[in-house]
């Protein structure tokens, strides 16, 4: 039932990308996502895909792991594409039937939008494929640290994040166990209407909540017993350090950003005409 929620699950390969500072990876991912929104030519998309491919190769990830993440959002992409295709009325009409029509502009916008979404998801999944949840939490904590001066409980937020991440596999396992136990008593989760299905989930959700409260209770005791909040001057074992790979990575993504901006504002589509000729 929950098998498909494997979106961008950490894939250990020990590559240089895996070893990069999580803060650098977080910031570069954000930069990459922003860059994709500036891309509006086919050349730009090709460039983006090339950049992603290169990172996948360096990170020693199987193509399949990235495609899986894309598959998770495929439905949304297709849905948005269909809407786009019929909504855009500008440009030359290629096909029409009653109120529906498809224009060449519509086709282009649709393809570009789909490409943008697919590349965006692939890029974001590269972060989670190469960075453990804990590193993401630690990196985030470090990046939002300045908010401490605005009295934001940065450390507690980070603790909540990392505990939530720590318990995701435990809760999945538990959910599956409860589902099996109720199925064994004849429960079914995939028949009937929406209301019936929602009701059928109660025998799973109630024990899951009850058990989670029990877990939370026990965890609180365990944290207290290990002196949580003993001192303001908490220390950390893991320190994050910017290394050569982080600098090279940053330069690489920065270069990509510049290329995207040049393509859009300086060449202004010239690369597309050059490569695809009259097609676009």
């Amino acid at each position: 039932m929950f098998k498909d929620i494997a979106f961008g699950q950490y894939y250990p390969s020990g590559s240089v990308v895996h070893r990069m500072d999580p803060r650098a990876k977080l910031l570069l991912t954000i930069l990459f996502v922003v860059a994709i929104f500036f891309v509006n030519t086919y050349f730009g998309f090709m460039l983006t895909a090339a950049v992603l491919l290169l990172i996948i190769l360096i990170a020693k990830l199987p193509m399949l792991s990235v495609l899986k993440s894309v598959r998770a959002v495929l439905f949304i992409v297709l849905f948005a594409a269909v809407i786009n295709l019929f909504m855009i009325k500008d440009g030359e009409i290629l096909w029409s039937w009653k109120a529906l029509q498809i224009t060449d502009q519509g086709v282009h916008t649709t393809i570009k939008m789909a490409l943008r979404l697919v590349l965006l998801i692939s890029g974001a999944s590269l972060l989670t494929l190469t960075t453990t949840p804990v590193e993401v939490a630690d990196g985030t904590e470090s990046l939002i640290k300045p908010l401490k001066y605005l009295k934001v409980p940065v450390h507690d937020i980070a603790m909540i994040m990392s505990i939530a991440l720590r318990f995701i596999p435990t809760l999945f396992e538990e959910t599956n166990k409860i589902i099996s136990a109720q199925k064994a008593r004849g429960a079914s989760f995939d028949t009937g209407g929406l209301v019936a299905r929602a009701k059928a989930l109660l025998p799973v959700l109630i024990p899951l909540f009850v058990n989670s409260f029990r877990r939370a209770d026990e965890l609180a005791f365990a944290m207290d017993a290990r002196c949580y909040n003993a001192t303001e001057n908490r220390t950390k074992m893991k320190v994050m350090k910017i290394g050569v790979a982080d600098i090279v990575g940053s330069l690489f993504i920065a270069a990509y950003f510049v290329a995207v901006l040049l393509d859009r504002y300086y060449f202004n589509g010239a690369m597309d005409s050059l490569i695809f000729g009259g097609l676009v």
């Binding site: 002196c227 220390t235 950390k236």
Partner: protein, 277 residues
Amino acid sequence: MPQIELINVSYSYRTGEGQSVRALRNVSFSVEKGEFVALAGMNGSGKSTLAKLLNGLFVPSAGDVVIDGMNTRDEERTFDIRRKAGMVFQNPDNQMVATIIEDDVAFGPENLGVPREEMIERVDRALDAVGMQEYRTRSASKLSGGQKQRVAIAGVLAMEPEIIIFDESTSMLDPEGRAEIMDVAKKLNEKGITVIAITHNMDEAAMADRIIVLRKGRKVLDGTPKEVFASPEVEACGLALPPATELARMLSERGFRFDGTVTDEEELVEGICSQSN
């Protein structure tokens, strides 16, 4: 001065319906540094409540708990007490804070503000002591129950405690896991750490120097395993005798004679051999 001292300790709590339950009544005993004490009793005997009173997770309703001269009522000493008396809980999954093993072991020292270099050494030593060094950078979710509990012990050791309380830490494990944990507990005790093991498993209790048996919140027995297993009270407390003791009793009914109470298999075998040849 004893390391742990309980003086007329009582503890009551309120249930969801507002009823007051007296979990412990007038319990007194003391434990010397380096002892291995088993706290036994059936579910609901108050043994887990007692465990939580030893490191200030609970404060007695009446009476005092004193650890190395520090009263658990004294809020300023709470963290000193918890550092000194570490605790390993029952459920391996519910006491792990971090995903990666070494991060979890570092949690205690981090909370105490231990400097980084020293912390790394402590984590190293703690993982060595429980034999989990090679797993340090792995995720805890793929470990067996026994391995998870060993990580939990390492997390306590990294705080450099003088006392370790095992709060039914073996009850959710398979026999291999149990043996692993009891083995570690014994080794730590040999190094001078005081061990308090809360259990309802008499095989484990038999490994202790001393067994304290609780029944309905009261202390009913306190003595060496031999003394305790010889008492007719044991079974009234809902506890089973260790298999070796049970067998010796069956053999006594069949004409064998043993000197004193048999507590382990070696003694039993010795006893049988001495009267069969």
